[in-house]
């Protein structure tokens, strides 16, 4: 899938959160990293059609994303989104969370949507959790169910906003493994993450945001081995500081 960001800027009430972000590349497995408040979530929400940029355009496979109210649902339906937490509808069981968008948005019959939900639950190790409400699932199970919902309609791209940062360490790996497996089966994703090991080894490309600007973009191995900017060097060394 080809993604082109053309001079994306975003301000909230006068404060500039993203400044002139440009990018044009094939997206496979992309990690967005950067310090807190650098605009990662904002950029991801713009790409996902949840937020309109103040300036600039987004192009997906050559066609420009139309941010008008009546066009957006269709665009969003073609993507999968996983939030940091609480992204599952908490009045619906894990199974219904997966099946409902299939029925309502993608026009799948109820029977088939439930069958597909069942297959996904099995695939993500949630066979016994299908009829539980999100509040009855562990954090890791919730995120796996959210992943299942995100990929249920075979989206062309999955967007993940710090899917593990609200989790205990034991669940973090379990969720990262699932994402890694998805990547191996050819699912394209953009992940905002603070898990540097994952960004380095499981992602092909890395995008470094700093103070609302795109400072570096390249293959993960290149950026980790040869950070060109001082900011990225500092960012990486800070992260290594507390490593066991």
């Amino acid at each position: 899938m080809h993604l082109r960001l053309e001079n994306i800027s975003k301000h909230f009430n006068g404060t500039e959160v993203l400044r002139q972000v440009c990018l044009a590349d094939e997206i496979g497995k992309l990690a967005i990293v950067g310090p807190s408040g650098s605009g990662k979530t904002t950029l991801l929400r713009i790409i996902g059609g949840l937020l309109q940029p103040s300036e600039g355009h987004v192009f997906v496979d050559g066609s420009r994303v139309d941010y008008s109210e009546n066009k957006l649902p269709h665009y969003r339906a073609g993507l999968g989104y996983v939030f940091q937490q609480n992204g599952l509808f908490h009045h619906l069981s894990a199974r219904k969370n997966i099946a409902l968008p299939l029925q309502v948005v993608h026009g799948v019959s109820e029977e088939e949507s439930l069958e597909r939900a069942q297959l996904l639950l099995e695939r993500f190790g949630l066979v016994h959790e299908g009829d539980k409400l999100p509040a009855q699932l562990s954090g890791g199970q919730q995120q796996r169910a959210a992943l299942a919902r995100a990929i249920a309609a075979s989206p062309k791209l999955v967007l993940l906003d710090e899917p593990t940062s609200a989790l205990d360490p034991e669940y973090t790996n379990e969720v990262l493994d699932v994402i890694n497996d998805l990547g191996k089966t050819g699912i394209r994703f953009i992940i905002v993450t603070h898990e540097m090991g994952f960004a380095r080894h499981a992602c092909d490309n890395l995008l470094f945001l700093y103070g609302g600007e795109l400072l570096e973009y390249g293959t993960s191995s290149a950026l980790f081995e040869n950070p060109r900017t001082l900011q990225l060097q500092r960012f990486l060394s800070k992260l290594l500081e507390w490593r066991v």
């Binding site: 649902p73 939030f83 609480n86 992204g87 009045h91 948005v105 919902r149």
Partner: protein, 268 residues
């Protein structure tokens, strides 16, 4: 000795955690009821009242009619005030400013004045001016307008308490605004507001008693009239209280039940 006292005291204490055992709960509940009845009986014997419910034979039909009318008044008002409350709650966040402020003023005025004032004003000024002389209709109208303001606040509160991540999640799966309303906002708001709305129904029933002042012959007015002719004041009001409890207690119970189910849906 101390051990003994401790053992006895234990009977009156709820366990530190977990539910109260059924038998213990029931016996303690019974104890409270006995104490209340005893105090009541003590007060009555102090002013040496003896009860005489013989008027029931003669006035039973009128009391029953009043009872039915109270239910009819409350049920109709509840339905109309639910619709009104939902519209007003929606109106409070509309972009059409005159409409938004109208809803705002309505809620402020109604919630800021006693029902009795509204009943007099509506019935004698607005009712007369617009020619609404059917007392039942006027009563339902006034009660609905009064309760509608409270219901609007319950509904608005329910909407504000919706988690913003839920709305964002609805967007992210591709729901349109209508689909978000139907599949996410409404179901979540119903579980959230049902306990409070059910509780409000008990209020509607009690508030309907005030319509007696414009001579709607519901339960309170029926028993007021009977007590005025029979002079059996205590008996009449005792009966009246008991009849209201018959209506409100099951509703309170249902409200609690909904609350428990709602808590269950959010926490484990």
């Amino acid at each position: 000795m101390v051990e003994r006292l401790k053992y006895i005291a234990g009977f009156f204490l709820a366990p530190k955690a977990g539910p109260v055992p059924h038998l213990k709960g029931a016996l303690n509940y019974l104890l409270v009821c006995v104490i209340i009845i005893f105090l009541f009986w003590l007060s009555l014997s102090a002013i040496s009242v003896t009860f005489n419910f013989s008027f029931l034979d003669f006035y039973g039909k009128r009391i029953w009619d009043g009872f039915v009318l109270t239910i009819q008044l409350s049920a109709s008002s509840l339905i109309i005030s639910l619709i009104l409350g939902a519209l007003v709650a929606a109106g409070q966040s509309t972009r059409i400013l005159p409409l938004r402020y109208l809803c705002d003023v309505y809620v402020k005025i109604i919630r800021g004045t006693p029902l009795i004032v509204q009943i007099y004003l509506f019935f004698y000024i607005i009712g007369t001016a617009w020619g609404i002389d059917n007392r039942f209709i006027a009563g339902v109208f006034i009660l609905s307008i009064f309760e509608g303001a409270y219901i609007a606040e319950i509904i608005r509160g329910g909407y504000l308490s919706l988690d913003s991540t839920q709305l964002e999640a609805a967007c992210s799966v591709g729901f349109t605004k209508k689909q978000t309303l139907r599949y996410v906002v409404l179901p979540q708001m119903i579980t959230r507001t049902l306990p409070a709305l059910t509780g409000q129904f008990a209020n509607v029933i009690k508030d309907s008693s005030l319509l007696s002042i414009i001579a709607v012959i519901e339960m309170t007015q029926a028993l007021r009239e009977i007590s005025a002719t029979t002079f059996q004041l205590f008996e009449c009001y005792l009966l009246l209280g008991a009849l209201y409890l018959c209506l409100t207690l099951p509703i309170t119970f249902a409200s609690r039940l909904f609350e428990k189910r709602f808590n269950y849906a959010l926490k484990t």
